[in-house]
Symmetry: C2
């Protein structure tokens, strides 16, 4: 894991530090806040391991991997505002520390620092730099489309979201930038055209990752760095909820939706306990967990076909290990 | 003004239109909403006229000029949320049409479409493409720093903002992307190194533009597309306010600050009338207008020195005309 400290260093080195104006020095600290909180840096690691597995030098992929990390961080700042989340990586969300207006602006600045990394000499030197840039654009635009569906369902009060619609949303919102994009970017950094089979593989593993994330959010004994049952407080549509609402009679459905629709500030712990109890009674958590396992199994089966075709078998084994840990995550 | 319809077409052509999923088709409409509202497209025009005045072909600068317009639009979406603005170009602000979470995400997507234009073949073909990109990064980062100061003064309840601090903020927040950046980008599109004197010229004219904007916002008979006295409803720090608070005794100062500090939803028309009456009594509007005229005169004097050094005198004359209209704007 020699790459992990280098990935962290490359990510933080791309951000501003000192400013003679104390208000702007504080602003630079806000820009560095989420990136300095750490996190697993899964997506950046995937870029590096994919580059190495494709026979490339992972160090040449460092700037691209760090840019993926910056993407994750500015998206989380804006996500936390959009979803009304209270916590991130075990600390208050940025808009709780700095106020919503300042936090939006900090996210925008971090977005520019991300592109600045992708325009750095190290990136411009990549033989497939143009394709890297196109991949990045497509990755962010897909993520924003998925995010729109997710937010719009909440904004428009839609609860009749089908399992298929949910899986489409999650593929756009999560699978692309969590797995598909990083695997493809690694191949491009190694100077190769990405194998199109990565798309299906990444879709299954990315969906499994998000489903597992939704399940973990409702397990009180798990420490994720996010608030327990935050998804219910925020009224998010999840597969768990889609399953639950397909099992209930009209009266129970109405009682659940009324509680989910409460504005976050009016939502009481007993509202959330009411929904959690229905989720357990109808086996919706177990259903989502089973689907997560099925998606993971399909993705890992494709991976076991693809991994032997990669140039560097040792790196391919590490990549496989990281992808397995991604879908079997315990926190 | 042959370039104006082409600028508009290039801006809108860079944005997505149809999608088979009706929710995503609606999302594309939201992305196009602010750009389709029109506006004066001053900054994009400045890029084109600066390129032509420097002896370049304005059509080669179209993608960069359109990218400046997209920048303006995504910044306005986020600005309107950050400031709690109600109107933009005579219509409700985007977050009033789509909700705050969706509007943040739409602004982020528009930000990516802006970079996509700057990565287009037309831009990559520019001999000084790398410098164009660096200029763009610097322009946005400076704007975000100015925006931070502006937002942070409101967030932290600071009212002891000096005239110098205000002018620093306005130079960062407005002058850079309104005048300095576009003039420099035009030179780069024409293949030339920007004359460093553009910086001082653009600072004076950009500050004059913002001061005039602040004055116009408090003239009830003027239609700006923004709400009359919106700055007072939003509690913005302006030079008008800095002057006012330097003229009042402690009791009047406290009465004004108490009204400005009211959350927007609690602010009544009579609170705003109270502040407006103090502004008129102390001559603060006239003071800001005089300073705007002095800044404009300094900028235009520098321009009259610089314009004759430009390669294309007809285009330089048009550029001068546009910059004059910028600082003498009546709406």
């Amino acid at each position: 894991m020699a790459w992990l400290p280098e990935l962290e260093a490359a990510t933080l080195a791309s951000l501003p530090t000192a400013h003679s104006n104390p208000e702007l020095a504080r602003y630079y600290q806000l820009i560095r806040d989420y990136p300095e909180r750490g996190g697993k840096r899964l997506r950046g690691q995937l870029v590096l391991l994919s580059a190495a597995a494709h026979g490339g030098d992972w160090q040449q992929a460092l700037a691209v991997a760090a840019a993926v990390e910056l993407f994750q961080n500015w998206v989380l700042i804006h996500d936390d505002i959009e979803d009304g989340s209270d916590e991130r990586r075990g600390r208050p969300a940025l808009h709780h520390l700095a106020g919503m207006p300042v936090a939006i602006n900090v996210g925008d600045a971090l977005h520019v620092y991300m592109w600045r990394l992708l325009h750095s000499d190290a990136c411009l030197a990549l033989p497939r730099w143009r394709e890297v840039i196109r991949e990045f654009e497509a990755m962010i635009l897909r993520t924003a489309e998925g995010q729109h569906l997710d937010l719009n369902w909440v904004a428009s009060g839609r609860f009749d979201v089908s399992e298929t619609e949910y899986l489409t949303m999650v593929t756009l919102k999560t699978a692309y930038y969590t797995v598909i994009g990083p695997l493809r970017l690694g191949a491009l950094c190694a100077g190769l055209t990405p194998d199109p089979r990565f798309d299906a593989l990444g879709r299954h593993l990315g969906v499994a990752f998000q489903l597992r994330d939704d399940v973990l959010n409702l397990l009180p004994e798990v420490t994720t760095g996010k608030e327990f049952a935050g998804d219910l407080y925020e009224g998010k549509r999840t597969l768990i909820l889609a399953h639950l609402l397909s099992c209930t009679d009209e009266a129970e459905k109405a009682a659940i939706i009324a509680r989910l629709n409460q504005p976050r500030s009016d939502k009481r712990a007993e509202d959330v306990r009411f929904i959690l109890s229905a989720i357990n009674r109808h086996g919706s958590l177990a259903y989502a967990q089973r689907l997560a396992e099925a998606e993971a199994a399909q993705g890992l089966a494709l991976l076991s076909e693809l991994a032997p075709t990669l140039a560097d078998s040792a790196a391919a084994a590490e990549l496989t290990g990281l992808l397995k840990s991604l879908v079997r995550r315990l926190h």
